[in-house]
Amino acid sequence: MDLVVNVLSMCIPFSVALLLASLGEMFNQRAGIFNLGCEGVMAMGAFSGMLVPFLVGHGGAVPMVYNALGFLLAGVIGALLGLLFGLVVITFRAPQGIAGIGMQMFGVGVAGTLFRYFVGGTQSVPGVPSFPIPVLSKIPVLGKIFFSHNIVVYLAFLFVLLSNFILFKTSWGLRVRAVGTHPRAADSMGINVTLTRYESLLVGGALAGIAGAYLSLCQAKMFSDELISGRGFIAVALVYFGHWNPYKIMLGALLFSLAQTFQSVVQGLGISFPYEFAVMLPYILVIVVLAFSSRDQKSAPASLGKPFNREIRT
């Protein structure tokens, strides 16, 4: 029982970076933009997020407001990178896949360089402490699993509800879905396709930046230019996994994180099983689910990855 509670209580905070980045990528893709550069944006977010508390505290304790400013800076930097990506793929209509790879390299490279310049070597920060919710965290079993995490974890899961509301219950969400599904029809209805796509990239970039900052401020509480280690690509895969739906994406992030946590706990049990297969388990899980759900892609944005030019009939 303890093992199950431990695994479940760890998989929730470990899933947050993937969850936030996936939700951001979902907004991008719902608007028809495929952003493979999520990894690079997360790297920039991770660096800029830890920069504020580091410059203030030089690795020592700082008031929470500086961590909050770190998240804010990460969100702003992420949003700006989202707009930069928009400039390349919306205004210049560059191939989205190639531009995404470029953005990934750009983000990781620049974050590493700036880190060396401003910080130096591998450096930790005190980061965001746990905030067990009074009363609720004392509930047996459930308290440890759901209510004993840092504040960003609670906000991230609340943001799933908000994302669903924004996407399916607001006129902006309707516009996003329209430009991702049939941009020409949306254009003929008076929706500014270019502006809506830019707005989606801004939101997606901000969320990817915050996801990176979560890793550097809440989880690892340190930065290195290899901190993201492929999590940006997993986030992109989780959007397909979750059929562009916030709730399903949340389940995907939790499932991946559960598999990740489970494999590291199982390794410690001394079961005769090659650790290489244990490490592969979460990735195999994603591939298997994607393979079996590939025929059920009705919710995929019909114009995903296609540039829009109102003067050219496509």
Partner: protein
Amino acid sequence: MKRISSMLLVLLMAVSLFAGGASEATGDGSSDAVKVALIIENTIDDKGWCQSMHDGILAAQEALPGKIEYSYVEKMAVVDAGSIARQYVADGYDLIIGHGAQYKNVILELAEEYPDVSFAFGTSSEIGPENVFTYMPESEETGYLSGIIAGMLTKNNIVGLVGPVDGGDSARYNRGYVLGVQSVNPDAKILVAHTGSFSDFVKAGEVATSQIESGADMLTGSSQQAIGALRATAESPDAFWVGQDLAQLTTEEGKAKCIAASSYNYAAVIIDIISKLDAGVKGGECIPMNFNNGGFIFEYNELLADKVPQEVKDKVSEAMSNFTSAAGVLSNWSEVDYNTL
């Protein structure tokens, strides 16, 4: 305008590809100095694998004034290492070190191409061609000391081990750790897990957290990713750490949580290679690293001196004197089977 902007963006992204690398030359450039170049996949301040070699070369420079002219290049992927190594050859470097077993193929290829230049790579116990040195830290010795400390200080009788992959010197350190724990506390439960990566700090932190949640109160880890596990250990009020690199003692979390640490003293390897080069030997040898030949250093954390009882220090000293008096004391390290723990 669009074309200019596109070109600028492409240029910016291309520049970012090379943004991680850095290099710097040190030394007085005297004519009889040996020109040494170091190629590493991480950075010189990673508080782990790459930093220990960089620090070792600097220490060798100090020990042999005017004898070594040194340059390094960081963040060098294996596929790019060949071109930078050829540049070093063209610049007249005498010894080019690819610090990591991943550079083996490129080093062997270059060694054949440039027989007058000496090369080195490690960790490897292979005997290379006549112009290639290899070096092999016998890290089971440092792991054993860490294991003694962890095994004697654990209160829950559960200790953790966060490994990268089960290979090279990490495999030796990890198995030495198991032997060390078992030598002083045969009943202790040893949780072993690998992240599958040398540099995924986040995953190392996750593994350490899962081990702490499973009751481990003394942990260790190897390779540069271990700093992530140390950071996670620092989050727990009851858990402590034993380090594989002295640089970990200088971090904030290390000061608070790292009881002791061992480190590779690459200065001994470099000085040995330089003396062999002076004697006309360009390679064809494997240089082992152990306490016996000064290849390892061990230190306690002065700030946590009150956490280490004298009996622990005595056990560590006893093992250390065994290692110092003879090499290969733990030749049975490879027999450790994690599945039987």
